[in-house]
Every structure is written in structure tokens, then in C-alpha cells.
Symmetry: D3
Subunit: 144 residues, 6 copies
């Protein structure tokens, strides 16, 4: 492996994952009229749901020993442990403590996912998270 570069290249590696969940957008301290005006259909008191698609991006140097930034199998398992096993087939408002007191908009969900993964990843690695609520609506944090 003599030809590996002396200064490791910094590469971004991405892993896609999925979870299916119910949610409702509303503030308990607002009236139903106010919630309806702001959140519209997303305020259905009986919930609605989505197939969320998650793309996790980790940036770091290529390990000259392995040619990996990190083993994507490890990243896959970490995403499962921190995110999809907790969120999949759940009601985000009722079943997931991260959203107690936090409206589960796509924006808030992506920040929660980032914080969970950030705490579990080596600080030497950079992290970005993209979350698709539908094919046409998605979010990214931190914003680039």
C-alpha cells in the first residue's frame, strides 16, 4: 500500500436510512384555531405520517490502513441505534421523548437527529444530516 497519499485526503462518506412515523404539528399552548391557521393539514389531531428518508454525511481523513473514513457498517449500526430503532413505526409526539415539548417539524427533527449522532461520533469527524419528509420537502442541518 505504498502509494497511499502521505497526507490523508478528507472525504465525505454518506449513508442513507429510513423510518416511518406518525406526527402532528401543533403547540399545546395555542388554540385549535391558531394551530389550524399556522399548521393547516399537518395539525390533524388524529395524526398523519411519513416515510422519512435520512442521509447522514460524515467527513474525515481516509485511514491509510483501511482506505475507509469510517466503516459504513459501523455508521449504519450507529444510525439504527441512535435514530431509526427509536423513531421507526412510532408516533414522534407521543412515543419519542426527544419531542416532548418540541414540535416535530422537519427542521426540529433534523436537529434532534444531528444532536444524537453528534454525541455518538468521534469529535474528529464532521457531521451533516439531511432529512426528507417527502420527495419534494426536505431539510439539512447544519446548513451549508
Amino acid at each position: 500500500m505504498a502509494t497511499a497519499p502521505n497526507v490523508p485526503h478528507r472525504v465525505a462518506v454518506f449513508r442513507e436510512a429510513h423510518f416511518n412515523a406518525a406526527h402532528r404539528l401543533y403547540r399545546p399552548d395555542w388554540s385549535q384555531e391558531q394551530n389550524q391557521a399556522v399548521f393547516g393539514l399537518c395539525n390533524n389531531p388524529n395524526w398523519h405520517g411519513h416515510n422519512y428518508k435520512l442521509i447522514v454525511k460524515v467527513i474525515g481523513p481516509i485511514d491509510p490502513e483501511t482506505g475507509y473514513v469510517m466503516d459504513l457498517k459501523v455508521l449504519k449500526d450507529l444510525i439504527a441505534a441512535e435514530v431509526t430503532d427509536r423513531f421507526d413505526h412510532k408516533n414522534l409526539n407521543l412515543d419519542v421523548p426527544d419531542f416532548a415539548g418540541l414540535n416535530p417539524t422537519a427542521e426540529n427533527i433534523v436537529v434532534v437527529i444531528y444532536q444524537r449522532l453528534r454525541a455518538a461520533l468521534s469529535p474528529s469527524l464532521d457531521l451533516h444530516v439531511r432529512l426528507y419528509e417527502t420527495d419534494r420537502n426536505f431539510v439539512e442541518y447544519p446548513a451549508e
Copy 2:
């Protein structure tokens, strides 16, 4: 338009639509243990949800006047009126009367959608419906 064929060709036209909904798979006449054994994660009492994707296929002769089997704008509006306006951002079990007493599995949903569209379409047109619950799980009725 003299070159249009004398015997109209039969063509299938397809229109894709989407709705996002919450549901729960269970039978109220079964114990929670039995529901859990059969439906697993899909039996979450607090609901979960999906981005459903629908593909409606209509077969008929090309109208020699217009070159259309049917105006896809008409089909789009019909799908909205019969299906997506009723199902989108809803809880299928609680909000949609079609599923009162009917477990909202993908199989049962696709049959309900077929029946709604069948009643609204000209009997001279054939109809098939495909429904994606996720990218990897989908159903079709009638089975071909």
C-alpha cells in the same frame, strides 16, 4: 388527421399521485398479544405513518378526435376528489370511513381505492391500481 388508425388502438395511460397518512394494523377483536404477534411494529397503538404513492392505470381506445384515451387532467382531478383529498394528512383508521371495520393494510387500501375509482370511471375503461406503502413494499389490484 387523416392518418389516425381506423380501429382505435387500446392504450394504457397512467397517473401518479401521493398522500401522507397515519395508520395502525390491528383487529379490535384480538388481544394485544395476538395483534403484536401478527402485526408487530405496525400495531403501535399510537399510530405510525407513510408517504403513500399511487399509480392509477386506465386502459381504453385512443379517441381519434383528441389522441387521448382520457384527459389526464380529468384523471388527476378524479383521483384527488375520490382518493387523495380524502386520505391525505389523515388517520386512515379514525378519519376515513372506508376503513371503519377494515384493517388498513396496503392490500385493503388498494382495493378500497380501486372501488372508489371504478365507480367514478366510465365502465368502458379498464382500471388497475398500484399502491406503494414504501419504496420496497407495494401492492396492485386487480392482480395481473
Copy 3:
């Protein structure tokens, strides 16, 4: 190759291709008002256009010599010669003689493509053609 089946299996092989074209839906023997009422936005006299996606399906027995129904490279070249080289970056109404006197609806286009490919393929092979005008609007001929 002794284990190849004695009776060749009939398999469908598919090849996807693309072309980008301009068109206008209208009948020259109709008034502008009538064309507008029936074809709406698609009747823009200055044309509009699409990225058409084509999926060609050929059914036949597996050749026990090669394991192929037909060489997909041959099918690819045939689709280019008969369809995409003639239609790509063209105005279907003005540049493609197949649509002289024939309204280039998706339905009529798919039949024209079928007829071109049918004439070029061995009669022992079955043929079906699917044409996407957009991701959400598509057609198939012959209808199955």
C-alpha cells in the same frame, strides 16, 4: 452448458432510453378556442417540451447458446436507429414525419414507437412499449 433447460424459458427483457423533444397538442382543423378548451396549456402555439423516457420490453425464449433473449446492445442500437436518433432534440410536430397529421399526444407517440420497433424486430418476439411524458404521466402500448 448441459444444465440449460430443455424447453427454453420465455423471459421479458427491458431497455430504457431517452429523448428530449418539443411538441404542441392541437388540431389544425379546430379553432384556437376549441384547441384551448381541449388541450389547455399543451396547445401553446410556441411549443413546449419534455424529457421523454422510453422502456422497451421484448419477450422471447432464452437462447440456450448465449443465455440471451436478445443481445441488449442490439436492442439499444435498434432503439437509437428507429426512435431516439429521429426524435431527440426535435420538434415532433414539425421535424418528425410520423406526426404529420397525427396529434403527438403520449398515446399517439407510443403507438408510433411501437410500430417502428415492431417492423424492425423479429416476428418471433413479443413487444410492449412504455413512454413517460413526465414522471407522473405515462402510457403503454399494447395495453396489458
Copy 4:
């Protein structure tokens, strides 16, 4: 569940799966020249590979007890046991006994997969298999 239909509807259920494998198209009883002429780039003696995508379609009546044709979790596990655990990250020619003496063209692979799944599924269920070798080249068996 009194409203379930008296005569169960026949529905098709689909499950998508994936495997990544190496292969080479050639006949050991042919000269290298003949193999090159027929199989071209696919005859590379050092192998090449694909991300194969598999769509399994099972047709049967909706079980009025569950609303399922079959539990897609069961179908997922069956596809893993019969196909993807055996084919994934393998050399189809060297590592998979099904292709001893059988050229691993997409056509032959889809028939092998069909036969494996057919033997494992209830005879009361109909089966079709689609296999993508690339996004633009795919096959289906039995041909419909």
C-alpha cells in the same frame, strides 16, 4: 371486520431486495474470440459486477383474518434466505452453485431466482420476478 368482502380479492404484493455480485459472461467451450464477439465487455476474464435489484411479486387472495396476502416480513426473510444471502458479495460464476454450467446472464439469473422462490412459496400463490442488472437493463420471468 364484518365489511371484509365475502370473496377475497386477489392482490399482487411486491417486495424489493438487492445484492451486489461479480460475474462474467462466457462459454468455456467457446474460444476467447467467439466469447469476445458475442459477449464483448461482459466477457472480461477478470470479472466485472453489478448492484442487482430484485422485485418479487406474489399474487394471492387477501386473508380476511389479517388483511394480508402474505406477511411481507415473511417474504423479505424468504428472499434473504433463498437469494440475497446466497448471492450478495459473491462471484456468481465461482461462488454460487446454481450457475455451475449456466451462463449468468440476467435472463438465466432471473429464472434461477424464480425457481428458488417458487420451491419455497405456497403453491397457491402466483409468482413473478423482475431483476435489474442496471437501471436501464432489466428482465422479468415469467414473461407477462
Copy 5:
């Protein structure tokens, strides 16, 4: 909502939209030979067309009241008013004043779209636009 962060997180929100249009690449001050040499098939005097796909990215702080960066329904309506209602089913060269004297390459189109949206959005929000001319050819402005 006591647990919302004190310093709002900056998140990117994305909305996808579509329009179908005809265009021609050429310079009226060049000879047909020069236009053909530079723009090739794209210089067809009878026009050709595309299904353009647009992804609009808006970056800003999460509003602690709503959990939104901005209501995506508002962004959707703004994209329709500023872009897709003006460009869809149009000839970009002839029907859209923005391209009077400006060659409608993907690069120029994406800048025009950016400028329209930039003028309509709050200056406190950052904006990026991606435009797909085909699945394989796309552009982004500002370049990141």
C-alpha cells in the same frame, strides 16, 4: 415548548418543483454554421424541450414559535408565482421575457430563477437554486 434551543439553529429547507418548456440555444448575431458548431442539436430552429426539475434551498434560523424556517407551503406558492406559472408549458425564448436577449442555457436559466426568488424572499434568508435539465445534466447557483 420550553426545550426549544435559546439560539435558533440555522437549517436549510428545500422544495422541489417542475416545469416543462421548449427552448433553443443560439445567438441571433451568429451564423447558423457557428451556432451549429457550438450548440449542436440544441440549436434546432424548430425547438426542443425538457422537463425541468427545480430544487430551491432556503437557509435561515428555526422560528422558535413554529419550528419552521419558513412555511414550505409559502415557499411552494412563491416558486409557482415567480417561476413555474411563468415558465411551464412555455417556449423560453419566445414566451418568457426574462430570456429576451439571453440564451436559455441551464446556467442562464438557473441565474434568472435565483434572481426572481431572491427579490421575493426576505433578505434574512440565504438562497440556492439547483436546476435539472435532464437527470444527468444539472446546474446550481450560487456555486457552493
Copy 6:
């Protein structure tokens, strides 16, 4: 073309390409046990393979003469000459000299592709490369 901006806008243009290849992840200076522990299924001595998808991003000013950053036909040909003609239907370890002594992980492949394209492109243009090994696993260099 009087309305083209005085200061050219910097735009990113993207071109997608594909190649299908076999590879094996391992270090010849490690034992088979160590290779298996680190690279798992990817260490199959008989190889496995992928449909690699490549997205090349080039950033530069819009040429006011043409409206192009660069002719995407030129970029397409350059990607073919530098990358896909060399990698497609090949064994990356055995057939491609770039990987002599370099483990063909996605990370190392994307750096090799970047270096090939970087040397062939005008220094005035910025370059980024994204490489999909599967739909769910991909890499980017330089990391942004």
C-alpha cells in the same frame, strides 16, 4: 445578448456517468483473518461488484459568449476518456493500474477519479466528485 451580466456569475454544472466493475477490499500484507475482520463480505477472494454512479461537479463563470460554464458534451467525453472507458466492465484491483497498491474503497476510488479529472480540466475551474457505490452508500471529494 446585451443583457448578459457584466460580471459573470459563477455556476456549478453537474454531469452524471456510470460504470460497472468488480473489486475486492483487502490488504495483501494482512492475513486472511485480519482482512475478513476489517472488510467482511467485501473481502470475498472471488470478487464482487457494483454499478458505480458518478456525479462530476465543475464550478466556473458563465461564458458570456455561449451561456455555458463549459460544454457538457465536452465534460461527458472527458469523463468517458478519463474514467468510465477505463473502469467500466473491469476488475478495479486487477485491470486498472490506478489501484495497484491502493485498496479500491469508495473513498480511494473517488480520490483517484478526482485526480484524473483535475489533471484534465482547466485550472480555472473548480472540481468536486461524488461516487455512489450503492444507492445508500456514497462518497464525495473534496469534502465540502
